[in-house]
C-alpha cells in the first residue's frame, strides 16, 4: 500500500501500533486534527520519524532495501508482511530517552506505567495479530462490535481476562486451566501460546470433547433429584373436596370415561408431550368423554417407588381439581363410579409413570374397573432410569442387562432395577397396548425390554407431513450465506454442544450464518438468537420462523434414539434440510425416508461436511423447493375411537 493511499484507510492495527505518547514526546505537538498515526503515515516516515519506541523507521529501511525502493509505509509493511516474512525491527533511538525520561509527579509516573503497559499491549498485538480472527471475535462478542475499540485491542486489553477466545482454535479458559504456570504469571494466554506454548507442545484448546465437560459436572442421580424436588405450592385437598370435584363428571352421563397419566399438569407446562396431551384432551372432549388426568404432586425424575400414598394431582375435564392422597382418590372414585353397569366405554393411557407410585396408581385405575389401557413410548423410562438410554448422559447405551458393566458405572444403573420392577408390576396388572410414535421407537423399546404388552403393540405417529405452497418469499436466495440453525431446547441430549462447537469452529467463516431459534438465549455462542414460542395457540410458530429466516440447514444432533422429534418435522415443514447423526432414532429415519437432509456417522463427519461443500447440496437454492404443514394426530383418542 502506498503512503498516500494509506492515509485514507489506516487500519486499526496500524493506528494502535503508533504510540501517541512517544510520537508527541519525541517530535512535538502536531497541527490540530492531525493524529500521530496519520502524520507518520503521510509525512513522518519520510522524515525518518519513528512511530513507536520499539520500531526504528531508519533501521527497517536500511535493513530492507527492497522495502526502501517502494513507497510502503515501513511500519505498515512490517505489520502486514514483515512479521510473517521473518523480518526484524529495531527499537527507536529515542526509545531510551522516552522510556527513562525524568518523571517527577505521580501523574507522570502513572502516565509512564500506562505507556509501558501500552507498549506491552502493542508488542502482544504484533505477535498475535496474524492468528487473531476479528470476524470470529465480533461474531462471538456483539458487544465489542458496538464499542469504539478494535477487536484485537479489545482482546489484548480486556477480552482474554474476561475469558473471551481470540479464534475458533484457541480456548482462553482451557489454556489457563490446563497451564497453571501461565495462569499464575498473569500472562495473556494466547500471546503465551503463540510466543512459546506452541513450541513447548501445549494444546491450544481442549481436546477432550464436550462429553468430558458433561461428565466433569455430572451430579449423581440423588443429587439431581434433590435439585428438582420442589416444595409443593398446593395444599392437600380433603375427601369432601374430592367428592365435590368428582360430582362434575357429567360430560358423558357416565357413558364414556378416559383417564390419562403423565409426569405433570399438561395445562400448566409447555413442551412437546404436553401439547400432544392437550390435543388428546380436546379430542376426547369433542366426543363427550369424561376425562381424568393424574400427575404426581412433585416433580420426579424416576418412578416414586418409595412413596407411600403420595399426593396426586387431578384434572377433571381439563380443569384443575387439586391434589389428593392417592388412596383417597381410589376410595372416592370407587364410591362415585358404578363400575358394574355404567361407563360403557372406558380406557386409559399412560404417557409417563415418572413421579407415580405404581401400586397407588394401579389402585386408582382398578377403582373404576380399568383393565385394558395404552402405554405410550414417548421415551425409554420403562427400560431405564435414564429416559434417553444415554449412559451417563453421553452415549447411547443400547439398554444392556442391568448387571452389565455399562449399568454398573452409569449414574442411572442402580435406580434402573427399581424402575424396571415398577414397570413390570404395572404391565402385569393391566392389559396394556404399547403405542410408539415411530417404528424406530418401537424397535428400540422391544430390543431393550422384557415387558409383555398383553394388548399388543402399534405405531401411531404424532404428525404427518402434508405438502403445501410456500409462504411469502423474503429476499433472494442466491449468493447469500448458508443459514444454519439449532431449534429449541439447548440440551446435551439434543446435541446442543455439538452445534455450539460447530458454530464456534466456523464463526469467522463468511459462508455461514448461525441461528438459534428457541425460548432462551445461550451465552458465548456465535449464533443469532431468535425467540420462538410454540404453543397450542400458535403450533406452527417454529415452521413460520424457519421459512421467514430462510433457514437452509437445521442441525438436530440428538445423541439418543429420538422416539419422534417434532423439531425434525418442523424443520422439514419449513423447507430446511436436516443434518442428524446415525444414532438419532426417528430423526435419522425421517431424513432417510424423506430425503430431506443428511445422516452422518459422527461429529468428525459433520465438521468435514462444513469444511467442504455443505452448501452445494443443502442450500435452499440448490434444492427443489418443498414445504409442508403438519397434520397432527389426536393421540390415544384416534385409537380409542378406532376401537369403537
Amino acid at each position: 500500500m502506498e503512503g498516500v493511499a494509506m492515509q485514507a484507510s489506516l487500519s486499526e492495527a496500524f493506528s494502535s501500533a503508533v504510540d501517541e505518547g512517544f510520537y508527541l514526546h519525541t517530535y512535538g505537538d502536531l497541527p490540530p486534527g492531525v493524529t500521530p498515526a496519520s502524520h507518520y503515515a503521510t509525512v513522518g516516515w519520510r522524515q525518518g520519524h519513528d512511530p513507536s519506541p520499539w520500531f526504528s523507521t531508519e533501521a527497517y529501511l536500511e535493513e530492507n532495501p527492497d522495502v526502501a525502493q517502494t513507497d510502503f509505509v515501513p511500519l505498515f509493511h512490517y505489520l502486514e508482511f514483515g512479521v510473517a516474512e521473518g523480518r526484524e525491527c529495531k527499537p527507536s533511538r529515542y526509545a531510551e530517552a522516552y522510556l527513562t525520561r525524568d518523571l517527577v509527579t505521580t501523574q507522570q509516573e502513572s502516565c509512564a506505567q500506562a505507556t509501558v503497559q501500552s507498549e506491552e499491549y502493542e508488542y502482544q498485538k504484533l505477535v498475535i495479530r496474524k492468528e487473531f480472527d476479528p470476524d470470529f471475535y465480533l461474531a462471538l462478542n456483539p458487544d465489542v462490535a458496538t464499542s469504539p475499540t478494535d477487536p484485537l485491542s479489545h482482546f489484548v486489553e480486556f477480552g482474554w481476562r474476561e475469558g473471551r477466545d481470540p479464534n475458533a482454535f484457541f480456548s482462553t479458559s482451557t489454556y489457563l486451566e490446563e497451564n497453571p504456570d501461565v495462569a499464575n504469571a498473569g500472562v495473556n494466554p494466547f500471546y503465551h501460546y503463540v510466543a512459546a506454548g506452541r513450541s513447548e507442545g501445549r494444546s491450544p484448546r481442549s481436546t477432550l470433547g464436550f462429553r468430558y465437560h458433561v461428565l466433569l459436572n455430572q451430579p449423581d442421580l440423588d443429587k439431581r433429584m434433590a435439585t428438582v424436588l420442589q416444595v409443593p405450592t398446593w395444599r392437600l385437598g380433603s375427601k369432601f373436596q374430592l367428592e365435590h370435584a368428582l360430582s362434575s363428571l357429567t360430560r358423558s352421563k357416565q357413558q364414556r370415561l378416559y383417564i390419562s397419566v403423565s409426569h405433570d399438569d399438561f395445562t400448566e407446562n409447555v413442551g412437546g408431550v404436553q401439547l400432544c396431551l392437550q390435543r388428546e384432551a380436546d379430542a376426547f372432549a369433542e366426543r363427550d368423554f369424561d376425562h381424568l388426568h393424574f400427575f404426581p404432586g412433585r416433580m420426579f425424575l424416576v418412578t416414586d417407588h418409595e412413596g407411600e400414598d403420595p399426593p396426586t394431582g387431578l384434572l377433571i375435564n381439563g380443569n384443575a381439581a387439586g391434589h389428593f392422597r392417592a388412596s383417597s382418590i381410589a376410595q372416592v372414585l370407587g364410591e362415585t363410579v358404578d363400575t358394574a353397569s355404567a361407563w360403557s366405554q372406558r380406557s386409559f393411557a399412560i404417557h409417563s409413570l415418572l413421579g407415580h407410585n405404581v401400586k397407588s396408581l394401579a389402585a386408582i385405575l382398578k377403582s373404576v374397573g380399568m383393565d385394558d389401557g395404552y402405554f405410550w413410548v414417548h421415551d425409554y423410562a420403562s427400560i431405564s432410569a435414564g429416559l434417553q438410554l444415554l449412559r451417563n448422559d453421553v452415549e447411547f447405551c443400547g439398554a444392556p442387562p442391568p448387571d452389565s458393566t455399562a449399568c454398573q458405572i452409569c449414574v442411572y444403573g442402580e435406580r434402573r432395577r427399581i424402575q424396571l420392577a415398577d414397570h413390570a408390576f404395572f404391565f402385569n396388572e393391566f392389559n396394556l397396548t404399547v403405542i410408539a410414535p415411530s417404528q424406530t421407537a418401537l424397535n428400540t423399546w422391544k430390543g431393550g425390554t422384557k415387558l409383555d404388552p398383553r394388548g399388543g403393540e402399534c405405531v401411531h405417529p404424532h404428525c404427518r407431513l402434508i405438502p403445501r405452497p410456500a409462504r411469502e418469499r423474503f429476499g433472494d436466495d442466491h449468493g447469500r450465506r448458508l443459514n444454519v440453525a439449532f431449534l429449541g431446547q439447548p440440551a446435551v441430549h439434543k446435541g446442543w454442544p455439538v452445534y455450539r462447537d460447530l458454530s464456534l469452529r466456523f464463526a469467522g467463516d463468511r459462508r455461514f450464518r448461525f441461528f438459534h431459534l428457541g425460548m432462551h438465549r445461550q451465552p458465548h455462542v456465535p449464533a443469532e438468537f431468535v425467540e420462538v414460542r410454540v404453543s397450542a395457540g400458535d403450533p406452527e410458530a417454529m415452521i413460520a420462523k424457519i421459512e421467514e429466516l430462510q433457514i437452509d440447514v437445521v442441525i438436530i444432533w440428538s445423541l439418543w434414539p429420538e422416539t419422534f422429534c417434532f423439531t425434525a418435522y418442523e424443520a422439514v415443514a419449513g423447507g430446511a434440510a436436516v443434518i442428524a447423526p446415525d444414532c438419532s432414532g426417528n430423526v435419522a429415519r425421517m431424513v432417510h425416508e424423506t430425503g430431506k437432509g443428511l445422516v452422518l456417522a459422527d461429529e468428525a463427519a459433520l465438521t468435514r461436511l462444513f469444511e467442504s461443500d455443505v452448501a452445494e447440496s443443502l442450500a435452499r437454492s440448490n434444492r427443489p423447493e418443498e414445504h409442508f404443514r403438519l397434520e397432527l394426530s389426536t393421540m390415544t383418542a384416534d385409537l380409542v375411537g378406532a376401537r369403537g
Binding site: T207, L208, R211, P400, P401, S404, T405, A406
Partner: protein, 343 residues
C-alpha cells in the same frame, strides 16, 4: 485352583480396599480374600471384619518381622505397606493356596480374572509392565518410559504367583529383599517393592510378562489403550477390561488421565464411577491422613528425614530399639538434642 488374593493398605485406604474387595467378591466369589493392614484401627473406628468385603485381616505387626517397631520406623506409609507384601506372600505360600494374587487397594475388577488362573497353570510368576508400546510422544517418554526406568518396569499394583516351584523361590527372594531394602530411594536404584521385580525375569524361570491391555489399565498406559463400553461389557483395545488401577485419586490423576485419555470419554465415566464408590465407602470416623506409625508416642509427626537417619545407621538402631518412644534416653530426645526436631 485355590487362590488367595490379598491387598496391602493402611486404614487411610480402607475405602479403596472396600471397592476392590467388593469387585473381587462379585467376579471371583471363590477366592479367599485377605486384607493385609499395616496399621492399627483408629479409636474412633468401629472396625469389624464381619462387616467388610474380605474374609480375614492380617496385621503387619503379627507377620513375625523381627524387631517390628524398629523395622516399621524405617519406612514411611508407602514403603511400609509395600514392604510387608514380601513377608506376607512368603507366609501365604504355606497357607494351602495354589496361587497368590496381589492387587493394590486402588485397583478394581470389571471382569473375571479366570484367564489369569489359566495362565497360572503354565507360569509361576505373572507381572504386568507399566507400558507395552513404544511411544513417539515426547511427554510420554518422560511421563511413562523414563518414569518406568526410575520406578520399575512392572507395576506391582498386581502380581500373581504359584505357591510352589519358581513362584515359591520368587516369594522367598522378594521377602528377603523387601525386609531389608523396601525403600523409596531412586538414586540408589530402589523404589519400594517395584524395582526389585525388574530382576524377576532374569532370576527366575516361568515368569509371564502379561501384555494383555485389559489388565492393570492406568494413566501410564492410557496413551495406547482405548476404553470402550458396550452392552456386552467394557473393552480395552478390544480385549475385555479385567481391572483398572485408579492410581493417585485427585488432581495428579486428573491431569495425567486427561493428558493421555484425551477424548476417550468412557475413561472419565469409569473415574466418575470410582469417585462415587469411594464416597460411598469412606468412613468419616477415620481421621484424615491417619496412620498409627506416623507419629512419636507424644503425637509429634515423624519426619521422613528421621526415618532415613534411623535406617541408615545400625548404631542408632541398636541404641534405640523403640524409636517411637519419647522421653529420657529416646531417639526423639537424641534428635532434639541435635536440633533436628522442629519446635
Amino acid at each position: 485352583m485355590k487362590v488367595l488374593c490379598f491387598s496391602s493398605f493402611s486404614f487411610g485406604y480402607l475405602n479403596r480396599a472396600r471397592v476392590l474387595f467388593n469387585s473381587l467378591r462379585k467376579y471371583q466369589p471363590d477366592w479367599e480374600l485377605v486384607a493385609l493392614i499395616t496399621d492399627e484401627p483408629p479409636p474412633s473406628l468401629n472396625f469389624c471384619v464381619e462387616n467388610e468385603p474380605f474374609d480375614s485381616v492380617h496385621y503387619a505387626d503379627r507377620l513375625g518381622i523381627e524387631d517390628f517397631r524398629s523395622w516399621i520406623f524405617k519406612h514411611d506409609v508407602i514403603e511400609a505397606c509395600t514392604a510387608v507384601k514380601g513377608p506376607f506372600t512368603r507366609m501365604a505360600c504355606s497357607s494351602g493356596a495354589d496361587a497368590i494374587v496381589y492387587l493394590d487397594p486402588d485397583t478394581c475388577l470389571f471382569a473375571s480374572l479366570s484367564p489369569l488362573e489359566e495362565l497360572l497353570e503354565n507360569y509361576d510368576v505373572v507381572l504386568t509392565p507399566h507400558t507395552v508400546t513404544p511411544t513417539d510422544d515426547p511427554r510420554a517418554v518422560i511421563d511413562n518410559e523414563i518414569c518406568s526406568l526410575k520406578t520399575g518396569i512392572y507395576n506391582l499394583g498386581f502380581c500373581a504367583i504359584r505357591t510352589t516351584g519358581e513362584g515359591l523361590r520368587f516369594a522367598d527372594w522378594w521377602a528377603d529383599r523387601l525386609l531389608t531394602y523396601g525403600y523409596d530411594d531412586i538414586p540408589n536404584g530402589l523404589f519400594v517393592d517395584q524395582r526389585w521385580c525388574d530382576l524377576a525375569p532374569a532370576l527366575f524361570d516361568r515368569v509371564k510378562i502379561l501384555r494383555d491391555p485389559g489388565y492393570n489399565v492406568a494413566s501410564w498406559n492410557l496413551i495406547d489403550r482405548k476404553l470402550a463400553i458396550s452392552p456386552e461389557g467394557a473393552t480395552v483395545n478390544g480385549s475385555p477390561l479385567r481391572f483398572w488401577h485408579f492410581t493417585k485419586l485427585g488432581r495428579i490423576a486428573d491431569v495425567m488421565t486427561k493428558r493421555y485419555a484425551g477424548d476417550n470419554f468412557p475413561v472419565y465415566e469409569i473415574w466418575n464411577w470410582y469417585r462415587r464408590q469411594i464416597e460411598q465407602t469412606t468412613d468419616t470416623t477415620i481421621p484424615s491422613g491417619y496412620w498409627t506409625y506416623s507419629v512419636y508416642d507424644n503425637g509429634v509427626p515423624i519426619a521422613k528425614a528421621h526415618r532415613v537417619r534411623y535406617r541408615s545407621d545400625p548404631n542408632i538402631q541398636r541404641q534405640f530399639g523403640n524409636p517411637f518412644r519419647t522421653g529420657a534416653g529416646s531417639y526423639y530426645e537424641w534428635l532434639s538434642g541435635m536440633g533436628l526436631v522442629d519446635a
